[in-house]
Structure formats: structure tokens, C-alpha cells
């Protein structure tokens, strides 16, 4: 294993912002900042609540302001579009079945010391690592 160039400072600061957002939502609205749950509730517009719309709007707005007015966001996408489509299906279905993703389980749940979230997070990180490993083997064969 070799370690790529990275900045632990921007990681920590960015992470602290995420934490601040999670705490803000709980302290003001009393809600868990689980993005997959909030986003999926918008797919049922009749029962979606105003705070769910504005939270997702805030995510989009931060990106729009940053990318178009400040500096472009770097996106390096290594996977083919067809793989991304399959991945999207898995992420959409999986987060609903397991009631959460990186934000809901990984940040909110672990901070509350929820055993369910701890298990879910360990499982999706392990499976994610295994998937990337297998993806690497497959790509070597195709070279």
C-alpha cells in the first residue's frame, strides 16, 4: 500500500463543518441529518415536509454558489457511466433497505452510539473496500 497526497487539515475542517450542520439541524428542528432518508422523502411530495425540501435545497445551493461564484469543484470520476448507473441503483435501494447512508449511520448514528449505525457503518465500509479491490482486479485483466 502507498499513501496518496492528501491534506488532513482540510479533511478535519470539512468534517467539522459537517458536524456543525448535523448539530444545527438537531438543535433547531430536532431532526437527524440523514441525507438518504431526507432525499427519499422528497420522492413522496404529498407527505414531504418543508424542512426536508430546504435542507436538500441548501446542499444544492452550497454547491451552486461555490462552483459558479467562487471556484470550480473538482470531480474526478473513474468509473464508466454504465457502472455509475448500477451503483446508483444499489445506493438508492440499499440506503432505503438499511435506513441510512454515510451521514445518517456514519455520522449521526455513531455520534449517538447507536449499535445499529455502528454495525451498518462497519459493513458498508468493509464491503466498499472489497468492491474497490475487486474493481481493481477486473480492471487489471482488461488492460
Amino acid at each position: 500500500m502507498n499513501i496518496v497526497e492528501f491534506s488532513w487539515q482540510t479533511g478535519l475542517i470539512g468534517g467539522a463543518f459537517i458536524g456543525l450542520a448535523v448539530v444545527t439541524l438537531m438543535a433547531t428542528s430536532g431532526r437527524i441529518a440523514g441525507i438518504s432518508s431526507i432525499f427519499s422523502s422528497l420522492l413522496k411530495p404529498t407527505s414531504a415536509q418543508p424542512w426536508q425540501w430546504t435542507f436538500i435545497a441548501g446542499l444544492l445551493l452550497s454547491g451552486l454558489l461555490f462552483h459558479w461564484l467562487y471556484r470550480p469543484i473538482t470531480l474526478q470520476i473513474e468509473s464508466h457511466t454504465s457502472i455509475l448507473v448500477i451503483a446508483g441503483l444499489l445506493v438508492g435501494f440499499g440506503t432505503r433497505l438499511g435506513n441510512g447512508c454515510t451521514s445518517g449511520h456514519g455520522v449521526c448514528g455513531i455520534s449517538r452510539l447507536s449499535p445499529r449505525s455502528l454495525v451498518a457503518t462497519l459493513v458498508f465500509i468493509t464491503v466498499g473496500m472489497l468492491t474497490v479491490f475487486l474493481l481493481g482486479l477486473f480492471q487489471l485483466e482488461n488492460r
Partner: protein, 138 residues
């Protein structure tokens, strides 16, 4: 009204966090998962920062009786570790590994109008709809 506005602010802060930490960049996330290849430790620090602030912030928040602009804290009470949770996490983890994307960064990434991110989010919506459809049948 107040909780609607504070949710907007929370969403924006969350988005800024994902952008600053570069978690919107799929390569950084896949790099973290690439433990046997070229490992990118960024996500460890992002998680660390987020858990530190949330851990302390939640403690302070829950020491109050109720949120500022709502009547109760809506916190999950379900505690059973069941097959649904595990299978869900397995499916999500495989999709996360294949793409380097999870819901938050994908939604923030839409703001760049990148066609691959749009394809991912559309597909994610379909995945969620398939789940809703199947859940109704069971």
C-alpha cells in the same frame, strides 16, 4: 418557518463541509476504500472531525428539553440489528465502492451539471422507488 430556514442553513453548511473536505470528489472516496492500492486517508479525518463536533454538539443539544424550533427530538428508537440493516448496508457499500458516491456528495455534485453525476442521481431515485414499490408488496 424558523425550522424551515434553519434546515436550509444546515444543508448549506453540510454542503460546504463536503466541498472543503473534497468528499464530493469520487476519486477521494474511492481512494479511501482502496486500502490495497493507493490509499487516500482524507475520509478518516473528515469522519474524525465530524464525529468530534457531532459527539459534543449532540450531548449539549440533548441536555435541553426540546429543540429550538420544534416540540420534540425525532430520534430513531429502533435498536434491533436485523437482516434488512445488514443487506441494506452491503448493497449500499457495493454501490459506494463502484462509484465513490453516496447520496450527500452526489446531490452537491449535481450543482456542477456533470452528466455522470446526474445519471447516478437519477438511478439512485429509481433504486429508492423500486424499494418503495417492493415494500408495498410485502
Amino acid at each position: 418557518m424558523k425550522s424551515t430556514l434553519s434546515a436550509l442553513v444546515a444543508g448549506m453548511i453540510f454542503g460546504v463541509g463536503l466541498i472543503l473536505s473534497e468528499m464530493v470528489n469520487p476519486k477521494r472516496v474511492q481512494g479511501f476504500l482502496d486500502v490495497t492500492g493507493h490509499w487516500d486517508p482524507t475520509l478518516v479525518f473528515v469522519m474524525g472531525g465530524a464525529l468530534l463536533v457531532t459527539g459534543i454538539g449532540y450531548k449539549l443539544t440533548f441536555s435541553r428539553n426540546k429543540p429550538l424550533f420544534a416540540s420534540t427530538f425525532a430520534v430513531p428508537t429502533h435498536r434491533v440489528i436485523d437482516t434488512r440493516l445488514i443487506v441494506g448496508a452491503v448493497l449500499f457499500g457495493s454501490g459506494w465502492g463502484l462509484s465513490g458516491l453516496c447520496p450527500g456528495p452526489a446531490i452537491v455534485g449535481l450543482s456542477t451539471f456533470n452528466i455522470d453525476i446526474m445519471a447516478f442521481v437519477l438511478s439512485m431515485i429509481v433504486g429508492m422507488k423500486i424499494f418503495d414499490f417492493m415494500e408495498k408488496k410485502i
